[in-house]
């Protein structure tokens, strides 16, 4: 009772249906669905970038010397800090726009046992999405004459905390 006419027609219909379903699946699965909670991924990448840049700057180039970061903070050289940090953080494989900005603050323990904070180098911050990365900096034989505005900084061996707020312009 089974009729064997129209078999090619049926096979062509089934094959076309399978082809359409597979194509639709490929198209849908190749797009990434960005949800509101995915902003954490962007923050994590920015934080990793900032931490890596500060870790590179805090590593001395040869044994026994001070690192770039410690030298810059010892003598209050904001130009060296800015150039090196932005160089590391804006590194692209091709020349691209320099879109990273930062605010750097230093916290120290003053001679009166208070924790004071001052701005080391900053760009204006207009509430962009920013992350804060930090680095402990060891300053051996620190001389507080380089910081005339911070009169209560101790001289001698000192550790300060450098905090950098980092964002994309």
């Amino acid at each position: 009772m089974v009729s064997d006419s129209g078999q090619i027609y049926t096979i062509e219909g089934v094959a076309a249906a399978i082809l359409m379903i597979v194509t639709a699946y490929l198209v849908v699965s190749s797009t990434t669905i960005i949800t509101q909670q995915d902003v954490h991924i962007i923050d994590m990448q920015l934080e990793q970038l900032g931490n890596d840049a500060l870790a590179m700057m805090d590593t001395p180039d040869s044994f026994g010397n001070n690192s770039t970061l410690a030298s810059a903070i010892q003598v209050n050289d904001t130009t060296v800090f800015q150039d090196t940090f932005l160089d590391y953080v804006n590194a692209y494989t091709v020349t691209g726009p320099e879109t990273m900005r930062y605010n750097a603050t230093i916290s120290y323990r003053s001679s009166t046992e208070d924790i004071q904070t001052f701005i080391f180098n900053a760009s204006p911050y207009y509430r962009e999405n920013a992350v804060k990365v930090s680095r402990w900096v060891y300053l051996p034989y620190f001389n507080n004459t380089y910081y005339p505005e911070q009169s209560d900084m101790r001289s001698g061996n000192q550790t300060v905390l450098l905090e950098v707020l980092l964002w994309r312009q």
């Binding site: 849908v28 669905i33 949800t35 509101q36 909670q37 995915d38 954490h40 991924i41 923050d43 994590m44 934080e47 990793q48 931490n51 870790a55 805090d58 916290s107 120290y108 323990r109 046992e113 924790i115 904070t117 990365v133 930090s134 680095r135 402990w136 060891y138 051996p140 101790r154 001698g156 061996n157 000192q158 550790t159 300060v160 905390l161 905090e163």
Partner: protein, 121 residues
């Protein structure tokens, strides 16, 4: 009893299958929001960079001979408590002639980290 109508079985069955597939895909899209949130948040929450940083700092004190400087210990403890809300404590035991022991404790409220370093002489 009238004979059952056996026409259209293919179409009805395929309709069922496609609706079940759609429900499954909707479930996947719904769960993807939660997965993205928890993995990235887990990475952000664990203080990997802070622990590596304080270890490097304390070893720098040691190799510069300033591991038992009280000023540095006060600096580290107070600034960490005030600015980062984390407890950092380290002790130095020169148990000669075997070696030096440095123990580091870091606690930021969520992650508790203890470490003992033995440096043989």
């Amino acid at each position: 009893m009238a004979p059952m109508n056996e026409q259209g079985q293919w179409i009805v069955m395929l309709g069922f299958i496609i609706s079940i597939i759609l429900v499954f895909l909707a479930l996947i899209v719904n769960q993807s929001a939660l997965v993205g949130k928890t993995t990235a948040e887990g990475v952000l929450e664990f203080p990997k960079a802070q622990i590596q940083d304080i270890r490097e700092e304390i070893m720098e004190y040691y190799w510069n001979g300033a591991i038992d400087d009280v000023n540095l210990m006060s600096d580290t403890r107070n600034i960490s408590m005030e600015k980062k809300g984390a407890i950092i404590n380290y002790t130095y035991d020169p148990i000669s002639p075997f070696g030096d022991f440095i123990s580091i404790h870091y606690h930021d409220g969520t992650t508790d980290y203890y470490e003992t370093i033995e440096i043989e002489k």
